[in-house]
Symmetry: C2
Subunit: 453 residues, 2 copies
C-alpha cells in the first residue's frame, strides 16, 4: 500500500511540476502577445494595405504578397505558395433598392447573377425561412420576389448556432424560390441586431433550376419591409444589381513552417483564411485568423520555444466562396503523405478566446480534457466541449488526428460579419492578441506531448 | 466491494440526474434572459431617465425612485429603502487645461478641492507612479504640478489587475505630492487604450497634509504632455476646476426580496451599485449590476422557480466615493442578526460572463468547484479561481459565508469606466443579459443545495 501511495504521489508531483512549468510558458505567450502588439499591427497592414480580399481581386493578390513577406521576415525554415484556381465573382456597381420608392440598404449575395439593367420590380411574398416557403402555393409566388425574413433566434448563447439555423435561407433561397417561379429573392441579413448594414455571404444555384438574382437586406430595412407588407401586401420592391461571375482566376495559399526538432514529419497545422468578402477590409473575418496564426510562430521564435514537431501556418485562399484553398491543401497533403496530427483554424473572429471547438473521437476529446483542461482553465481558455472546426481544415477529415478551431466569444461577431463594418478599428487589440496566445498555448501542448497514447 | 461499487454507481447516477435537471433550469435562465430583453430595457430606463447618479445628486434620487418602482412591479415579498448619509461632491463648471496654451482633455478627480478662480499654472514634474515620487528630491517638486504617468501594464490578461497596480497614484497622488510642496497633481487616466476621454474616480486627502487640487488627464493628452516635457522641461501646465464638497446628503439603498419557502431566515444577497460617477449615464458602472440583480429575481418569478432561501436584491448607494451604502447594509445586517450565506455583487461591467470571483475559505472554494464547476462550464461560466468580491459586499466579511462577484470578460471595461463614454449604447444587450443569467444560475445552485456540509 505504501509503495502504491508513493507512486501516486510521485506521479502527482511530476505531473504538477510539468503543469507548473507549462503554466509559465503559457503565461509568457500571453504577456508577450499582449505587450508586443505584433498581431494587431500585422492586421493593420493587411487591412489598410490590401483592403478587401475577395478571391480573384487585386486586394487578394496584394494579401498573398504581403503575407508571404511577413512570413519571410520571421526566419522560418520554409515559406512557399501553393497555386489554387478560384471562382472570380465581382459585385459591379453599388446596388440599389427601394420599397415603393423609398431607398433601402441592400447588397448582392456572393455568387448571384445580376438583375436586368432596369432592375427588377415586383410584388413581394414574405416567408420565415425555407420551411415556410415549402408550404406555399406556387401560384402565390410566380412572378414575385420572395422575401426570406427568418431572424436570428436570440435564445442561443452561441451566436454561431443562430447563424447555422438561419443561413440556409441565404444559401438555398434563390434556387428554392426559383422552383416556384419567383423572379428574385431578398434575404434578411444574417445579423444579431437591428441595424442598417446589409450582410453579404455566399449563395448557391442548382444548374437544373433557373437562376434568379439574390440580395441581402439590412435587418432594419427587413423590419420595415415586413411592416409595409403587413399594412399593404400590394407594395412593390425594386432592386438592381450588376454583379457577375468571371472565369476562374489563379491565386495562392501562403504557407510557412518551423521544422520540428524531433518529429519533423509530424505536422501541426494552424491557419486562417486570407480571402474575404468585398464590403470592408474584413478584420475579424478573417484577417484576425491569419495574423493570429502567424503570431503563433512569432511567439515560438521570440520566446525561444523550439518545437519537436513541425508547426505550419497556412493562409488559405477562397474560404468565403468556394473553399478551393482548403480543398487544395488537403488534396496536396494527402497526395504527399503529409502526416498531420492537428489542424487548427481561427475563423470565428478576434474576440476574447474561450477555448477550442474540436472534431475528434470521444476518446481523444476526453484525453485532451483530462490532460490539459485544468491548465487551460487557468488562462480561461478551457472550453473544450464544442464540436466543429474551421471550414478550411474540415477538408482534412480522415487525414488528421485532430481538427479544431479557436473558440472566441461570439456575442459581437454578427454585428460585423460580411458587412462594411468589419474594420481594423472594430477589432480589439487585446482580444485579438489573447486569441493568438491561446492558439500558441494549445499548439505548444500538442507539440510537447503529442496526441494519442 | 460490490456494494461499494453499487453505492458509487448510485451516487453517480443520482448526481448525473440532478445535474441534468439543473442544467435544464440554467439553460432556461439563459434563453429567457436573452429573449425577453428586460435587463437591457431596465438599463435603458435607468440611463436615460436618471442620467448620471453621483451620490447626493438629482440623478441618484431619481434612480432610487425608479429602482424602487421596478422592484415593486415584480410582485416580491418586500421592497424597502434603507437611509444612508452620503458624501456630496459636485464637479462645478467644465474643467479647463492646457499645455502651454494648447487645450487638453482633463476632468477633476472625485473628492478633489477646486483650484483658485484663476486656475493653477506651474511647471510640471513627471513621475511613473508613487514609487518614483518617493525617490525624488523635494526641492525639485516644490511649487510644481506633479504629473503621475504610470500607464496600465498591458501584460496582465485581467485588466483589473492593471488597474489595481496603477490606481494608487490616483487615490494617494495628491496627498503624497503635497508632502513635497507640489501645488497640484495631474494623473494619467486609468485606461487601457490611448484616447481622448479623461477618466474620473475617487481620490483621497490626509487631514494632516495640505490639500491640493487633482485632475485626471486623457491618455492621449498624457502622452502629449510627456512628449512635450521630454523636449522642454520648462513648459507650463494650466488647469482650472471649480469642484467642491457640500455637506453630506441623505440617500438610500433600495432593497427587494423573495422570501424563501424552507429557510426564509437564510439570505442570499445579490446587488450592484445605484450611484455612479457624473460624466455619463454609467451603464457598465454600475447600471449593469443593478439591472442584472433585478433580473435574477425576475427570472425566478418568470420561470416559477421558488427559492428555498430568501433572495434579496440590494441596489447600493455611494459605492464610488465613500462606500456608505455597503457599510450601512452590513451594519444593519449585523445588528439585526441577518444570516447571510452568500453576498454576490455585479460591479465589473455587463460583459460576457466567465464565472465568479470569490472571497471564501479554501475548503468552501474547493467544494463549490467540485460540486458545480462542470455544470457551470457547460454555460462557460465556470471560472472560479479569482479572488475578490464587489466592494459593497466586502463590508459583509465575517458575517457571510461566501462573498462573490460576477466575473465578466474585462477587456473593454477600461475603455468606458468613469468616462463620458459609459453609455447604454456601449453596453451589449446579450452580454448584459448573459451576466444576469449567470448570476441567476449561481444563486439557484446556492439556494437549492446550500453552502457547506
Amino acid at each position: 500500500m505504501k509503495s502504491y501511495i508513493f507512486i501516486v504521489i510521485l506521479f502527482l508531483t511530476t505531473s504538477c511540476f510539468a503543469q507548473s512549468a507549462d503554466s509559465v510558458v503559457l503565461a509568457r505567450f500571453f504577456s508577450t502577445a499582449l505587450t508586443k502588439d505584433k498581431a494587431y499591427s500585422d492586421l493593420n497592414d493587411i487591412c489598410k494595405q490590401c483592403g478587401s480580399r475577395l478571391s480573384g481581386s487585386e486586394g487578394a493578390a496584394k494579401a498573398v504578397t504581403l503575407v508571404h513577406k511577413i512570413l519571410s521576415s520571421l526566419d522560418l525554415d520554409s515559406v512557399w505558395q501553393q497555386d489554387v484556381m478560384v471562382p472570380h465573382w465581382v459585385r459591379g456597381e453599388k446596388e440599389q433598392a427601394s420599397i415603393n420608392t423609398q431607398p433601402v440598404a441592400i447588397c448582392a449575395l456572393g455568387g448571384s447573377i445580376g438583375t436586368p439593367k432596369e432592375g427588377i420590380t415586383a410584388h413581394v411574398i414574405e416567408v420565415k425561412g425555407l420551411g415556410q416557403l415549402a408550404k406555399m402555393n406556387p401560384a402565390d409566388i410566380g412572378g414575385k420576389i420572395v422575401f426570406y425574413n427568418e431572424p436570428f433566434d436570440q435564445a442561443y448563447r452561441e451566436t454561431f448556432n443562430a447563424y447555422g439555423r438561419s443561413v440556409q435561407q441565404r444559401w438555398a433561397g434563390a434556387m428554392e424560390a426559383a422552383r416556384y417561379g419567383a423572379v428574385g429573392v431578398v434575404v434578411r441579413s444574417m445579423a444579431q441586431h437591428i441595424d442598417d448594414w446589409p450582410h453579404t455571404g455566399v449563395m448557391g444555384y442548382n444548374d437544373s433550376i433557373v437562376k434568379i438574382p439574390a440580395v441581402a437586406i439590412s435587418t432594419k430595412a427587413a423590419e420595415q419591409l415586413s411592416e409595409s407588407l403587413a399594412k399593404n401586401k400590394d407594395i412593390r420592391f425594386y432592386f438592381k444589381t450588376s454583379c457577375q461571375t468571371l472565369p476562374d482566376a489563379k491565386s495562392y495559399n501562403v504557407i510557412g513552417e518551423l521544422k520540428g526538432s524531433e518529429h519533423p514529419e509530424e505536422v501541426i497545422m494552424i491557419g486562417g483564411h486570407l480571402d474575404s468578402w468585398d464590403l470592408s477590409e474584413s478584420a475579424q473575418d478573417d484577417g484576425a485568423g491569419v495574423v493570429q496564426s502567424i503570431e503563433v510562430l512569432r511567439l515560438f521564435k521570440t520566446l525561444g520555444v523550439k518545437p519537436k514537431r513541425t508547426i505550419r501556418v497556412v493562409a488559405f485562399m477562397n474560404e468565403e466562396n468556394g473553399g478551393k484553398g482548403g480543398a487544395k491543401y488537403a488534396e496536396w497533403a494527402k497526395a504527399n503523405g503529409e502526416k498531420h496530427i492537428a489542424a487548427i483554424e481561427s475563423d470565428a473572429g478576434g474576440f476574447t478566446p474561450r477555448g477550442f471547438s474540436m472534431v475528434a473521437t470521444d476518446t481523444l476529446r476526453t484525453q485532451i480534457k483530462h490532460r490539459w483542461k485544468d491548465l487551460l482553465d487557468k488562462f480561461e481558455i478551457g472550453s473544450l466541449d464544442n464540436v466543429g472546426a474551421g471550414s478550411d481544415v474540415e477538408h482534412m477529415e480522415g487525414i488528421c488526428t485532430l481538427l479544431a478551431e479557436l473558440h472566441p466569444d461570439s456575442q459581437r461577431y454578427f454585428d460585423f460579419h460580411h458587412t462594411g463594418r468589419d474594420t481594423w478599428e472594430n477589432c480589439n487589440d487585446r482580444e485579438l492578441e489573447m486569441g493568438a496566445a491561446a492558439m500558441a498555448s494549445f499548439v505548444y501542448l500538442i507539440d510537447k506531448y503529442g496526441l494519442g497514447k
